[in-house]
Symmetry: none
Subunit: 219 residues, 4 copies
Amino acid sequence: MNHKGTSASIVNAAEVLFAEQGFTETTVRQITSSAKVNLAAINYHFGSKKGLIQAVAEKTLTPLCAELEDMLAQRGSVSDAGQITLDELLEMLMRAFLVVHSNNVNALAVFMRLLELSYMQNQGELREFIMSRYGEKLHPFIHLTRQDSAPMEDDEFFWRLHFLLGSITFTLSNFHTLRALEKKTYQSGAEVEKILHRMIPVLSAGLQARSDKTFFCRL
Amino acid sequence: MNHKGTSASIVNAAEVLFAEQGFTETTVRQITSSAKVNLAAINYHFGSKKGLIQAVAEKTLTPLCAELEDMLAQRGSVSDAGQITLDELLEMLMRAFLVVHSNNVNALAVFMRLLELSYMQNQGELREFIMSRYGEKLHPFIHLTRQDSAPMEDDEFFWRLHFLLGSITFTLSNFHTLRALEKKTYQSGAEVEKILHRMIPVLSAGLQARSDKTFFCRL
Amino acid sequence: MNHKGTSASIVNAAEVLFAEQGFTETTVRQITSSAKVNLAAINYHFGSKKGLIQAVAEKTLTPLCAELEDMLAQRGSVSDAGQITLDELLEMLMRAFLVVHSNNVNALAVFMRLLELSYMQNQGELREFIMSRYGEKLHPFIHLTRQDSAPMEDDEFFWRLHFLLGSITFTLSNFHTLRALEKKTYQSGAEVEKILHRMIPVLSAGLQARSDKTFFCRL
Amino acid sequence: MNHKGTSASIVNAAEVLFAEQGFTETTVRQITSSAKVNLAAINYHFGSKKGLIQAVAEKTLTPLCAELEDMLAQRGSVSDAGQITLDELLEMLMRAFLVVHSNNVNALAVFMRLLELSYMQNQGELREFIMSRYGEKLHPFIHLTRQDSAPMEDDEFFWRLHFLLGSITFTLSNFHTLRALEKKTYQSGAEVEKILHRMIPVLSAGLQARSDKTFFCRL
DNA sequence: AATGAATGAGTATTCATTCAT
DNA sequence: CATGAATGAATACTCATTCAT
């Protein structure tokens, strides 16, 4: 197996296992044996397990950001375009997710899991890596999102954005399990496409909700 | 140190470390050395690391469910009570979270992390443990929630409920990090109380949003 | 449970487990939990696990030696008794084993296992304990045995005696397994009694065999 | 140290320690430190301690069976060969043991200890491993053995064979101790070769002894 | 006389990584 | 470019024993 082949089959095997078991729980032995490559290959090609995780992350994040930028650019170039709506923006996001998913069924779940992970206290380094590399590219999108949200302070918007982020990461990183639960209860399981679509009105309503001014009384 | 002391200080130390690092990343050595007890004490008192995790879960889940049941019962006993609203229900939930949090600053984050974990593919056993033990107690709450949500099919409600669950678990399990990020950006950090309160209108709007019937066109 | 009760139930539980699993493989936890007594009871009553093993050994060895001495004494007191035969001696031994076995189905296997163990290189202490306590009592029996064996040098008799000892300890310590194998193959399993009886002519012939003088040529 | 070196020195060190202390009593730490290899080397090369024990077993059993088969084949090919005698068969067996012993002084004792172990109640798996791998190869030998034994029922032959097996395993697994005892008493210690030779007439007489028909009266 | 709690030393095994070739 | 062998540090867990009451 040549370099490209080895490297690629490691990434593929890793994505499957990371999606199923998480990063810590997945061992390099599992990955290399699933990819049918030498145990030392991960360190050889990616330097370390961490390097592999970053490679996996970049493989998904790069096209995802590009896709989103493209869509925004295209929409912006339409001459008679009015103010872009929240629903439109969220649909763009979901379509970008779907593009990633179409190319690789595990990539989306892995990326979402990584995003969740990056918010843990002791994962500042990972958070920095993602933010420094991709944070900036998302600013225009976030800026537009705010314009069609309910009026609110910056800090409130910050929190609402993370409420939404929680919905997205939880749903997509655990899609396999949720679908199985749905099937068990309702004898039918929805496709990723449908679920991405279903999130739009919910997330949109969340951002547009008027904030409740009555005080939550302490017990 | 007497029994209760040892056992309790293990649980306390574990909660702090689990909240910071997650379950797998936290070793029994870290826990016992932080709790200043013997390395074998976890196995003596809880049988295994898994047993400790379950003990930690029960310590939070039991009063949480009880609190919620109490609140529902109290509200139900009010004679002139009309139909209970979604905002009221969500406020009850948030207040129950706050009660847990007031007693122990880490308990809420740990429990939320455990809930997230339970949705992973290979954590069926944990999921079963939580569901079999506490699932039933949440049924009345979920039933009432549905009554004030937008009309929708069962499967759609299932997914929306999990969108909300994602918001809640993500926000609360990573509260420490999010607050730090907020502080870094806006020079002020909100208390749990405030954030719990802020979730109410967002979650409520998400459940009451009319579902979008236009089809999401495949790429 | 009073002292005697506790002590006795420990010994009984220990015999069962020692017979099944051996000494090292059986833990004090298994014994105390099977005996339904406190974990510390073994150390309290017997000082240590080793002390328990010695107690178990004495419980069997003392009556076994006494029985054999009795039988020899009785036979010796018969006025017209001629020279005692090897078959008679071996039958005495087997009957003594049977007496032990009748009182406690596990005692014989445990004792034989202990005897096997005592011949291991690093078990000199155990060997010394048994020999110093009971070795002397067996001398008359061994002396008589030699009289009806084929004529041979002392060292050869020493080895033959241990050939026989191997037959006895192997058969009786593993009786349970051997009986199960017999059942599987021949659809019938013999009782201890029958097997003890069957050993007599074999062991007897072994001791009476003329030693082969032709030399075993080195390869 | 190359692969073969590490692997082989582990096996060698293990054989010495297993022979001295038994399997359970010997720790992987003792083995690796005696073999001067890394603690993890056993798991790397043999998967587990159990795997090492099986490797040790195979290393002895394979040439042992081959040797025995060779001898039988050679004897069978002699044109004017009459019926093969029990003494001849036992001599073949002893010579096969001696070949193993010549190549490695501990191998024989370890193998015999393993054979003893395999007859314990809770060692069914080990028994199966040995039987499935080597049982069949011994059938011709056992068949021939029966032809020159005293006439008897199948089940009786089964037990007599195990009486012999007990003699062999006990003597050879504890040879070191027995020789030391002999030396202490008679100021001279026999070589394995001599003892193997001495077993022949004893075992032979045991198989050829007429079974005693008088009943062993129950006490 | 007895026990629940606790302990220090030990167990086999697993980990990501590195090295020599 | 790639790999089989090897490694040091860590993992959860188990052991017989002891202590305080």
